[in-house]
């Protein structure tokens, strides 16, 4: 049946954990593209046959016309699945740009999942966000939860070095050290899993 490989591709995307990228399935992706070309070839040859018989392709509704129609519909179906696969992955990549941002290296386990053009898209989108923020002189990717306390207690989970400059002081972020930081300073570190918020 037509469109089954395309369906597999979309299904694979949907079966992943929501909001997480699986590794880009190059093999299946290329297979669907190949099928698009196969459908196009079949479509073209049916059209040529009709033209040779002197028939108007759009209006002469014979078996060749309907065969061509089926191939056209299968082609657009495959296209839709391919586009949806890339588009929905791009949504997750944009989320990464928001949460992790351009300044920081993405963890390698995420970079491995990117397809060829996805890394560039990540960078491009991060740049667009940065540009917007600098035009407004306002960061929109911090302050992601409503403020309760201006300062929060955090524990550092990985060695981040000393003399780190924050908005109101400088600090040494050795692993396991605990600090009282401005919420907006701590947010990006927590988001990247480098610190955790402590309560109680």
């Amino acid at each position: 049946m037509h469109g089954r490989k395309a369906y597999e591709l979309v299904k694979e995307f949907a079966s992943g954990e929501k909001g997480h990228l699986k590794i880009f399935n190059n093999e299946l992706f290329e297979r669907v593209i190949e099928e698009c070309n196969e459908h196009h070839n079949a479509l073209q040859s049916l059209i040529r046959k009709m033209q040779e018989e002197g028939l108007e392709v759009q209006t002469a509704k014979n078996a060749d016309h309907y065969g061509a129609l089926v191939h056209h519909l299968s082609l657009t179906r495959n296209k839709r699945c391919l586009m949806a696969y890339v588009y929905n992955r791009a949504e997750i990549i944009r989320d990464l740009a928001w949460k992790v941002g351009l300044l920081h290296e993405l963890p390698s386990e995420i970079q491995e999942k990117f397809g060829d053009s996805e890394e560039q898209y990540f960078k491009d989108h991060s740049k667009s966000l940065k540009l917007y923020m600098s035009q407004l002189s306002l960061d929109v990717n911090v302050d992601m939860v409503p403020p309760k306390d201006p300062y929060i207690k955090v524990r550092v989970l990985e060695d981040l070095g000393s003399g780190i400059i924050l908005s109101d002081k400088s600090a040494n972020f050795a692993r396991h050290s605990m600090h009282f930081l401005k919420r907006t300073d701590a947010e990006q570190y927590i988001s990247r899993g480098l610190m955790e918020e402590l309560t109680g």
Binding site: I33, K79, L82, Y121, L138, V142, D143, P147, P150
Partner: protein
């Protein structure tokens, strides 16, 4: 301003309230709530955003002054908390709008009503989003499609309209509060469209009413300020 701790003078309370300018915060909160709840992008509150930014700046300077002059730390932290709240509202408001742009970039760009609702910076952002996304889709999919199937807006050249463009779901349900009496609306059986009618079975909200309704028929009531979303 007196710097001793303890009771607040009337002067201090007045200054505090003047600085916080509750009306603008309320307006910002409402704009934020509307934008969060609405499926479509709403008109940009340019003047309000400008004022909010100015006030934030003023509050930041005040907090800095207080800290330097050894002001009562309780009062300082109260100002700080209010500052944080206004900043959060402003950031969240802008953020929600950017995320709507990311979701409906093609549709917003080609629909004048929506395009005109963007700030200058948002318009530039939209342009870049489209360029980046277009490039990405082109490289991964479209350039590999047969001729006649390479458009990012039309499934194929025989499509009569742009049939690949995601649109906001205007028939979604929202919770709306009435601020001013709405115009009488005649809703059809499915309550999906409205027309002006003075027939008896019209629908009207009065101030204080809280209703769950489909968004679409009430678009104008929202932009005119007769209702606000919760």
């Amino acid at each position: 301003m007196a710097s001793s701790g303890g009771e607040w003078s009337a002067e201090q309370i007045d200054d505090y309230e003047a600085l916080i300018s509750t009306t603008d915060v309320e307006l910002l909160k409402k704009a934020w709530r509307n934008e969060k709840a609405s499926p479509e992008i709403l008109p940009f509150e340019e003047a309000l955003v400008k004022r909010a930014k100015e006030q934030i700046q003023l509050m930041e300077e005040t907090v800095d002054d207080f800290e330097e002059s050894g002001h009562d730390p309780l009062i300082v932290s109260l100002y700080q908390m209010d500052l944080d709240r206004v900043q959060f509202l402003l950031r969240s408001y802008l953020r929600v709008r950017l995320q709507k742009i990311e979701k409906f970039m093609f549709y917003i760009w080609k629909t004048d009503t929506y395009r005109n609702r963007l700030s200058i910076e948002e318009e530039k952002f939209t342009e870049r989003c489209i360029r980046d996304m277009g490039k990405h889709l082109e490289e991964t999919v479209l350039s590999k499609m047969p001729d006649n199937y390479q458009s990012v807006l039309k499934q194929s050249v025989i499509s009569e309209e742009d049939d690949m463009v995601p649109e906001p779901q205007l028939d979604t349900f929202v919770v709306a509060k009435c601020e001013r009496t709405t115009r009488p609306l005649y809703l059809d059986g499915s309550r999906q469209s409205a027309g002006f009618d003075s027939r008896d079975d019209h629908f009207q909200m009065v101030p204080g009413d809280l209703c769950i309704l489909r968004y679409r028929p009430f678009q104008e009531e929202l932009t005119s300020g007769n209702i606000s979303l919760v």
